[in-house]
Amino acid sequence: MKILIVEDEVKTGEYLRQGLSEAGFVVDLVNNGLDGYHHAMTEHYDLVILDVMLPDLDGWHILKSLREADKTMPVLFLTARDSIEDKVKGLELGADDYLVKPFAFSELLARVRTIIRRGTKTPRDNVLSIADLELDLTRHRVIRAQQRINLTAKEFLLLELLISHKGEVLPRSLIASQVWDMNFDSDTNVIDVAIRRLRSKIDDDFENKLIHTVRGMGYMLDTADKI
C-alpha cells in the first residue's frame, strides 16, 4: 500500500512518514503543492494525505485538478482550520476524509486504514473471529473456546469494532464516536471502564489475553502480546 504525503511543515511530514512507514505502508513525502500534484499525477498511490494550507498550490486546488484528470485515489485532508464550511468544501471536492490539527497519530492511522479498506471492498463476513474468539453478527452471539459469553448491546458493538480492526490501535476518541456516537472528547475515563468490563468477560478467564492497552494511544485486539 503506497501513500503520498503532501505537507509543507517539515517536522510533521517527517513524523507522518516515519509513523506510516512503521505501520507497514510505503510512503512518499513532498513538501510543496507542485511536487505533490506532479507525484500524484504520474505515480500510483492508494491514498494521498494532503495539507490544505500549502505555500504554492493549496490542497483544494490539487484535489480539484486530480479529480478533473480522473484520478480517483482516496484523499485525506489535514488542516488547521476547523470550520464546517471548510469541511463541506473539502468533501464536495471529493475528499474522502478530513482531520483537524492537532490530531492524534493513532486517529490518523485508524482513518487511513478505514479509507484504504473501503477501497479494497472486501465482502463483510457474518462471523468475525480471532484466535478462539468468535463473533456472530447475525445471531448476535459471542463464543470463546466453545463457551457462550453474554454481552450487553454496547459491549457487543465495542467488541465488533475491536475485532474488525484487529491488530490496529484504536484511540479512545474513535471508540467513543463509533460505539456511543459521542463525537467529542470526554474528560472522563468512560472508555477505560467499558474496556475493563469487556475484558472481564472476554479475557479474564483465559490464559491468552486478546485486548491490549497501548499506553497513551488506545486499545487493540490482537492474538500475541505485541506491545
Binding site: 492524534a104 456516537d181 463525537n183 467529542f184 472522563t188 468512560v190 471502564v193 467499558a194 497513551g216
Partner: protein, 466 residues
C-alpha cells in the same frame, strides 16, 4: 443601497419648500387684494357718476337746448378721472357722448331681465376700461341707456409694477429663507458634530470614557445613553477577552513547563530505554491535554461567535439522555452512582451540541455524587420554554463560586487544576451552547443537592449565524 440624503440637505429643502409655499400664498393674496381695491374704487366712481346722471335725465325737458344739456353732463364729469359717458334714449338716438371717445363700440347686453346695472371690463385698441351700463328697460322710469367708462390703464400700470416688485421680493425671500435654514440647520447640528467628535476620539484603551448625557441637547441624550451602554458592553467584552488571553497563557504555561523540564532532565544524561519511554508517555499526556484545550477553545470560539450556522432538528431529549446514560453507565456503576431520568421532552435544537452540553453536566454530576446516591435529570416543559435539570446530591458548592462557575478555566478548587478533570472549559462550553440556542443556564447549590438548570425557548426555527 444608497446612503440616505443628508439631514442638512433634507431640512434645508423642507424649509425652502415651506417658505416658497408661504411666500407664494402671501404674494397671491397681496396681488388679489390690490386688484380688488382698485376694482372697488372704480365701481364706486362709476356709480357716483351714474347716480348723478340719472336725476339729471329725469329732470330733462324736451324743449331744452341740446348744447345746454351737454354742458350739464360735462359738468358732472368734471372732478373725476377722465370718465367717459354716453347716453342714448329708448329709440336709439344719441343724447350725449364724451368728446374723447365714441362709446358706440361698447356691446350692450340685450337682456330683458330686470337688471339695472352691469359693471364689466372693456378694451378697445389702445386702452383698458371698466364700464357701467345702465340699460333702458321698458319698466324703468328712465328711458335711457347710460354707459359710463373709466380708463384702468393707470391701475394696470401700477399693478404691473407692484407685481414685479412683489414677486421679486417673494423670490428673494425664498432664497434668503433657504440660505438661512441651511445655516440654521448647520448651527443646529453643532451638538451632533460635537458628540461625533467626542466619540471618534475614544480608542480601545479608553473604553472607560463615558459621554455626559446632560452635555448634549435633550434629543441626543438617548443616543449618548445608548452609546454609553455600548461602551460598557464593549469594555466588559474587552476585559473578558484580555483576561481570557491571560488565562490561556497561564493554562498553557503549566503543561509547556512540564514538557520542557521533563525533556531537559531526561536528556541531561544517558538513560535506559524504559526511562525514555516513561518520559515520552508522560509528555504525551501533556500533549493530549494541550490538544484537548485547543479543541475546546476552538469549539468555544466557534459557538460564541456563531461562525457556523447551527443546524436544528427535532430531538427526543429523553432518548438523548438515555444514550448518555448508556455511555456513562459503566463509569457511574464503578463510582456506585445511579442515573435516573424523569419526564420526556421533544425539542428543536442541534443534537450534537445539546448532547455535549448535557454530557458535561452529567459527567460533572457523577463525579461529585457520593457513593450510593443518584444523579437525576428532569425534563420538563414550561409554558413556552423547556427546562432541563441535572441534579446531584453531594457537598454544596460555596456560594462565592457559583457566579464564576461558568467562566473559562474557573476551578472551585485551584489545587485540583492538574487532576484528570479536563481543561476547565466544560461548563463554559455548556453555557456557550445553551446561549447559542437562545437559552440560559443557572446553578443552585445547598446541603441537599447541587442543581444545574438549562432553560431553552421552544421556538428556535430561525437561529443561525446571523
Amino acid at each position: 443601497m444608497a446612503q440616505p440624503t443628508s439631514l442638512r440637505l433634507r431640512l434645508t429643502l423642507l424649509f425652502s419648500i415651506v417658505a416658497t409655499f408661504v411666500f407664494l400664498l402671501f404674494g397671491w393674496v397681496m396681488e388679489r387684494s390690490i386688484e380688488k381695491h382698485f376694482e372697488m374704487g372704480d365701481i364706486k366712481e362709476l356709480k357716483l357718476i351714474s347716480d348723478a346722471v340719472i336725476p339729471l335725465l329725469q329732470s330733462l325737458n324736451v324743449n331744452q337746448d341740446i348744447v345746454q344739456i351737454k354742458q350739464r353732463f360735462d359738468d358732472i364729469l368734471i372732478g373725476h378721472h377722465h370718465p367717459l359717458l354716453r347716453i342714448i334714449d329708448r329709440s336709439g338716438n344719441l343724447l350725449y357722448n364724451s368728446p374723447e371717445l365714441d362709446l358706440a363700440q361698447v356691446p350692450i347686453p340685450l337682456s330683458s331681465a330686470p337688471l339695472r346695472q352691469i359693471v364689466q371690463k372693456w378694451r378697445n385698441d389702445k386702452n383698458h376700461y371698466r364700464i357701467l351700463i345702465q340699460s333702458a328697460n321698458n319698466d324703468t322710469y328712465t328711458p335711457y341707456t347710460i354707459i359710463v367708462a373709466i380708463s384702468t390703464d393707470f391701475h394696470q400700470h401700477f399693478i404691473a409694477n407692484f407685481r414685479l416688485i412683489l414677486w421679486g421680493m417673494v423670490l428673494l425671500g425664498i432664497l434668503m429663507m433657504s440660505l438661512m435654514s441651511w445655516l440654521a440647520v448647520r448651527y443646529g447640528h453643532r451638538p451632533l458634530r460635537h458628540i461625533t467628535n467626542q466619540i471618534s476620539h475614544i480608542s480601545s484603551n479608553e473604553l472607560s470614557t463615558r459621554l455626559n448625557p446632560n452635555d448634549v441637547p435633550i434629543e441626543l441624550s438617548d443616543l449618548a445613553i445608548s452609546f454609553n451602554d455600548l461602551l460598557i458592553r464593549m469594555d466588559k467584552a474587552f476585559d473578558q477577552l484580555s483576561n481570557f488571553s491571560a488565562d490561556i497563557a497561564h493554562e498553557l504555561r503549566t503543561p509547556v513547563t512540564n514538557l520542557t523540564t521533563q525533556t531537559q532532565v531526561a536528556l541531561s544524561r544517558i538513560r535506559s530505554n524504559e526511562e525514555y519511554q516513561e518520559v515520552l508517555y508522560s509528555n504525551m499526556e501533556e500533549f493530549d491535554r494541550l490538544s484537548q484545550m485547543i479543541a475546546d477553545m476552538l469549539f468555544l470560539a466557534k459557538t460564541d461567535n456563531k461562525i457556523d450556522p447551527i443546524e436544528m432538528e427535532d430531538v427526543d431529549l429523553y432518548e438523548e439522555v438515555q444514550n448518555l446514560f448508556d455511555y456513562y453507565e459503566a463509569w457511574a456503576e464503578d463510582n456506585e452512582v445511579s442515573l435516573l431520568v424523569e419526564g420526556t421532552l421533544q425539542l428543536r435544537c442541534n443534537r450534537l451540541m445539546l448532547r455535549r452540553a448535557i454530557s458535561n453536566l452529567v459527567s460533572n454530576a457523577i463525579r461529585h455524587t457520593p457513593k450510593g446516591q443518584t444523579v437525576i435529570i428532569k425534563l420538563d416543559r414550561l409554558q413556552n420554554r423547556v427546562s432541563i435539570i441535572v441534579q446531584n446530591p453531594g457537598e454544596p458548592i460555596l456560594s462565592k463560586h457559583l457566579p464564576k462557575l461558568f467562566d473559562r478555566f474557573y476551578r472551585v478548587d485551584p489545587s485540583r487544576q492538574r487532576t484528570s478533570e479536563g481543561t476547565g472549559l466544560g461548563l463554559a462550553i455548556t453555557k456557550s451552547i445553551v446561549e447559542a440556542h437562545g437559552g440560559s443556564i443557572h446553578v443552585t447549590s445547598d446541603e441537599l443537592k447541587t442543581q444545574f438548570q438549562i432553560i431553552l425557548p421552544i421556538q428556535l426555527n430561525k437561529l443561525n449565524s446571523g
